[in-house]
């Protein structure tokens, strides 16, 4: 089993966000997480991505129990194992798009030459080569999202987590971005997990879960 979520609980103060959540995902499967606003779907995604610690339960990714890892191990895990794609792009405004795409490599201490080649190749495939020297505010929303995807997969992560990646895009860009995510995750043999509001998008995934009040309802 590639991903195992066992009876996970998470609270912020008195608010219980995840309440005994459990599910599994096999390698090669992709997953769509659906749910209303405040249902806990983003918290679940961040938990899977080792950004949030859980209060109770276990999360195992590729056999590694990330709920028991120390901060340094979690950081290393995020850098080497996870790719994040966020709805609001989160490209850092203080650096150009190429530096943004190379950030995971810089943080992880990788040799930049190889990663840069890969980034340039991906930028070529996704049609954003012309954006690399520009700053994020100088490129369109669709281009920003594609650059965001390049950054997320620049280190070939085994798990690609996307928080409403098309939530900010028009229908044409939504189809493009989803297709790109699918193709690239298959190419690098990565498991894709997407949080979405869009039922049509969710239906195209191997597996789909719906969360309400911190529990899986379907």
């Amino acid at each position: 089993m590639f991903l195992e979520v066992k009876n996970v609980y998470k609270s912020y103060g008195r608010t219980e966000v995840l309440r005994g959540l459990s599910f599994q995902l096999e390698k090669g499967q992709d997953l769509a997480i659906m749910g209303g606003s405040g249902s806990g779907k983003s918290t679940l995604l961040y938990t899977l991505g080792a950004l949030e610690r859980i209060d109770k339960g276990e999360v195992l990714v590729d056999g590694k129990n990330i709920s028991k890892m120390e901060d340094e191990q979690l950081a290393l895990f995020r850098n080497r194992f996870i790719g994040f794609v966020f709805q609001f792009h989160f490209l850092l405004p203080s650096m150009n798009c190429l530096d943004n795409a190379l950030l995971p490599a810089k943080i992880g201490g990788f040799k930049l030459k190889e990663i840069k080649e890969r980034v340039l190749n991906l930028a070529n495939i996704l049609g954003v080569s012309h954006c690399l020297k520009k700053y994020p505010y100088q490129v369109s929303g669709g281009e920003q999202q594609r650059l965001n995807i390049i950054r997320a997969i620049s280190l070939n992560p085994k798990l690609l987590l996307c928080d409403e990646p098309t939530g900010n895009l028009d229908s044409k860009n939504t189809t493009n971005v989803l297709q790109v995510l699918r193709n690239l995750s298959e190419e690098i043999d990565s498991t894709l997990i997407v949080v979405t509001h869009d039922a049509a998008v969710a239906n195209s995934f191997h597996k789909k879960i719906t969360i309400e009040d911190g529990q899986i309802i379907s």
Binding site: T43, L51, R78, F90, L92, L103
Partner: protein
């Protein structure tokens, strides 16, 4: 683990002009508060050092007197002592200087010029029988010049004329600057033999002695040794003894004031904390991203501590500059110069040694890291996602 260059993080933090301005203000207030403490300590140290130097200039290392007031120096006192480099004896008495119908109480000091120079370092012009040297403030007071005449009135020492006044004119041969206001205003030097003759005292009669010790001998140990060896005939005092209480008071005050002034540092450090919180809030999204991409809390804290260290180092460097400006100002700007009649000294400047810098810089470093540590701890406890959500709520 993180190999993210510090420059990249600083670029993220300081991208906005507001952040840069805030940082500039933070460094300015921090360096100013450090400079205030340094200047205060420097002034007090400057006072102690200058006063001691000035006292040594007129007293040598050790002063000695006889319990019987007068004693006879025939040139072979303390012959058996190995610690003494040179000594001299003086015959001094209260007198009045009379100039153009004005008078001023002075202390006429009869000196053996050669020996006096060896002990105190004061280089005196050849005085001869009728020459005197004037303290610099006394010369200013009467507006006298070298070569002019001054009349001194002294009480007669002869038994048959006891109580009567002797008037004697002298030629001013030079000006002496002791560095101590009171001494410069009161001291007049003449040849010891001239003063002895004036009072009709036997040659060698003295009422004060000054000793210069060999460089390797400490004053404290010499005082103990002399007291044990010559204690019956003479009383010995360190050169600073006449201002000892004042010097002790300044030392106590220095510690108290530097502790009180830590409040200024704390206020400045609150600015640093405000800066951290400001940056943390406006850059929450960027920091979240860095964490998501693999930056550990530890690496993240390290960046903050490097930033705090840089703020501290830059502030320390600027504060050194501010202290130099302050020192220049108190020496050169008339309205900032100290009144010598109150502070005893003609001139006062800040003197800071390595320990002073280490003390002030060290304490401010402890403060900045202590408060920085607690601020970091607060951020560490806060959930990254909840912080981010708060930011966008």
């Amino acid at each position: 683990m993180s190999k993210l260059p510090l420059g990249s993080v600083f670029k993220i933090i300081l991208k906005k002009k507001t952040s840069l301005r805030f940082l500039t203000g933070t460094i300015a207030s921090f360096s100013f508060s450090i400079a205030v403490i340094l200047s205060t300590i420097g002034l007090m140290d400057g006072y102690v050092v200058t006063l001691k130097e000035a006292l040594a200039k007129s007293n040598g290392d050790i002063k000695f007197t006889s319990p019987e007031s007068f004693f006879l120096d025939e040139g072979h006192l303390f012959k058996s002592s190995q610690d003494i480099e040179a000594y001299t004896t003086l015959l001094q008495l209260e007198s009045f200087a009379l100039i153009n119908e004005q008078s001023k109480g002075v202390l006429l000091k009869g000196i053996d010029q050669e020996k006096f120079k060896r002990v105190t370092g004061i280089n005196t012009e050849k005085l001869g029988e009728t020459g005197v040297l004037l303290g610099s403030q006394l010369q200013k007071h009467f507006d006298l010049k070298v070569g002019e005449q001054i009349t001194l009135a002294v009480a007669s020492g002869k038994a048959k004329n006891q109580g009567s006044v002797l008037l004697r004119s002298f030629t001013i041969k030079g000006i002496v600057d002791h560095g101590i206001f009171e001494k410069d205003l009161r001291f007049i030097y003449a040849n010891k033999s001239t003063v002895s003759n004036l009072l009709d005292y036997k040659d060698g009669t003295s009422n004060l002695g000054l000793i210069k010790l060999k460089p390797e001998v400490s004053i404290e140990s010499a005082l103990k040794q002399f007291a044990a060896k010559y204690g019956e005939d003479y009383g010995f005092e360190a050169f600073w003894s006449e201002f000892e209480v004042l010097l002790d008071a300044v030392e106590v005050e220095k510690v108290s004031i530097s502790l009180i002034l830590q409040l200024i540092v704390i206020v400045a450090i609150l600015n640093v904390v405000a800066f951290i919180i400001f940056i943390y809030e406006i850059k929450a999204q960027d920091f979240f991203m860095l964490r998501a991409l693999g930056l550990s809390i530890k690496s993240f804290q390290n960046f903050w501590f490097v930033l705090l260290f840089l703020i501290w180092s830059i502030s320390c460097l600027i504060s050194i500059g501010l202290v130099e400006i302050f020192t220049y100002a108190i020496l050169k700007l008339p309205f900032l110069q100290i009144p010598g009649d109150i502070y005893e000294l003609n001139e006062l400047k800040t003197i800071l040694d390595v320990f002073d810098y280490m003390y002030v810089f060290g304490v401010s470093l402890v403060w900045i890291f202590l408060i920085g540590f607690f601020t970091m701890r607060r951020f560490k406890k806060q959930s990254l996602i909840s912080g981010l959500r708060q930011e966008f709520s």
